[in-house]
Symmetry: C2
Subunit: 374 residues, 2 copies
């Protein structure tokens, strides 16, 4: 079986779906990498070749004879126009955000597995690319905040006097939030964290942070994700959060609901209550932002407070983000390949849940709806 790894083409995307170290761990799979595909993540063509991959300059030649394509970002409809028919794609897809891409894949009679649809069961953890990339994002968010803040994160006792630790508030204690907490704690900050899911309390506390409890009903959704909230709930939540935000040097927001616009948890007026020099880092910037003033990829100043909208944070640390993603892909491929042959078992819960398109047929219910399919 031949696996093709094209160069990512989305602007600003520095990751690559396969790394040299993982190439050797794919028994029975012949890996072909597009020339320069790993360059932005600092994996040279020679490093892939040393691990037994072939390097192909041209995309058409790369896809010729391939059965599976591994990508980070989905291909564009324009790219797909030149794809051979019948390929299998493993990628992030966010099918509801771009149903036109799903349609274009169906038109190429492709079979498509979207890693963002993995069920949250323990067997799927080793393939969970949303989690691995959220780990990177949470780490990057805490670093960005430390660099932006005009103060130290750690308590410092110096001959000139004692500097108190920074007060960091993390909103949303999923994978990204927990890694942000851990990183801010490593740097010595005092961390408080809030999540609508009461279940997050124990994890937050195990990292040495204080769990913020607001007098609101819990909002546990399916599969361990937060569910979408009513506008009334959000208003009350914002009122209660305002005092926490005002007391923080740093607010890190990580509240995303899969497939929807991120909820606005921090309003402009809440930012205005923060002390001069404070910092907000918004990890939900690409899905609209948890902060009202967030602009993806930009620093917005509200008085003397900076609000950074981190865009695609895993791409900012492409070597390790790609390494973890490639491991996820390799673990997922193990479900699709038997004795070196592509043979997905659609009876497997993981294979079945992630399959958005099968040989041109759109299977994913919500996407069928978005495309107006019967």
């Amino acid at each position: 079986m031949k696996l093709a790894v094209p160069t990512e083409t989305r602007p600003g995307e520095r990751r690559v779906a396969m790394v040299p170290e993982v190439v050797g761990r794919l028994p029975g799979v012949e890996v072909a990498v597009q020339a320069g595909a790993g360059r932005a993540a600092h994996f040279g063509d020679d490093a892939y070749q040393e691990r037994g991959a072939s390097v192909v300059g041209d995309l058409a030649a790369l896809l010729e004879g391939a059965e599976v394509v591994a990508k980070v970002q989905p291909p564009t409809p324009e790219e797909l126009a030149s794809w051979p028919e019948g390929l299998t794609l493993v990628s992030f897809l966010a099918p509801l955000a771009q149903p036109e891409v799903v349609q274009a894949l169906a038109d190429r009679r492709a079979t498509v597995f979207s890693l963002d649809l993995l069920p949250r069961i323990s067997r799927a953890q080793a393939m969970d690319a949303l989690s691995s990339q959220a780990t990177v994002a949470g780490y990057r968010a805490a670093l960005a905040a430390a660099e932006l803040l005009p103060k130290f994160f750690p308590l410092l006792m110096t001959a000139a006097g004692t500097v108190p630790p920074a007060k960091v508030l993390v909103i949303g204690a999923g994978v990204a939030g927990l890694q942000a907490i851990a990183t801010a704690r490593r740097l010595g900050a005092q961390v408080r964290a809030y999540d609508v899911r009461a279940a997050a309390k124990e994890e937050v506390q195990s990292l040495g942070a204080t769990f913020v409890e607001l007098p609101l009903e819990t909002q546990e959704g399916a599969g361990g994700y937060a569910r979408a909230q009513s506008e009334e709930f959000l208003t009350r939540q914002r009122e209660l959060l305002a005092k926490e935000v005002a007391a923080a040097d740093v607010v890190l927001t990580t509240a995303a609901v899969p497939g929807r616009r991120a909820p606005v948890l921090v309003t402009r007026s809440m930012v205005q209550q923060m002390a001069p020099g404070s910092v907000v880092v918004d990890l939900a910037a690409d899905s609209g932002g948890n902060c009202e003033v967030t602009q993806a990829g930009q620093d917005v100043e509200v008085g003397e407070v900076v609000v950074r909208g981190l865009s695609n944070p895993p791409s900012g640390m492409p070597t390790h983000a790609s390494f973890l993603y490639a491991r996820n892909v390799a673990n997922f491929l193990a479900l699709l390949v038997r004795d070196g042959q592509l043979a997905p078992d659609f009876g497997d819960e993981i294979v079945n849940s992630t399959c958005v398109v099968r040989q041109g047929e759109v299977l994913h219910g919500p996407t069928r709806e978005a495309l107006g399919l019967p």
Copy 2:
């Protein structure tokens, strides 16, 4: 006694010599702050006023009737032209780097105390502004490296696999180097550190880092600083360091010799031996750089390695840098003021060592020489 605190005018300087919190700790001293002086460090005029300082819009009015002026950067000769005669200045001065400023101060019949000339005795530690600012610089250098590196600093054990910790090499284990080590260790990196002073070994090890021993004679200088080295010594040192540099993901250089150009410890060819994606952060950029390719305030790419020349790193974290500096200034002023009157005791070792100009007479030997004074 009236203490005047002007707005810093050097481009990129965001610090201020006095902060509101410290204003109240200067018994018998009337503090006047130029309007907006603390703004870039996030101290508002109102905050100074709440602590009892007066805020004055105009520099001439600020200096009118003042006896002492506190600054971070020395005034320029142009600024000095409008200074009243006979003022006392407490500031960083680096008198040898800018003898023309010393001359201009002497022309104004000023008395000048340069905080960079403090003797390294324990009584002076609370005034040691070089150390407090180096603490900030070392912290900032480690953060900058973590943000630039396309990998994690910490070891991470995730469901997708284990990521090894980053390998950080710190060259120069003075105050800045030790803080860089501590910060990189906090973030979970594996740290090795090198210093020409054998005495640094114990401090390095106490922070959980490995001390790199090269077969070279020790280079302990006066007052606990490193002394300048011969070109022959430096060449041999570079040869021995090359292997250490090549093995590191991150090299942080902090080797400065007061009043001289920083020694070049990392050549371009050493950088070329580093793996793609590696990072060099040079804290000595403003004094010429420890790395051959360093440009102050810029990122220079050598192949796939980034060399960042940090310019004035304490200014990048102006709130706490100013807080520590103001504490240093306050502690120093306690030596100059008795019963609310300016009465420096020139018999005191600290007062005597730091006094570069006294009522217009240049006292500092090396500066007299630089100015061609008999």
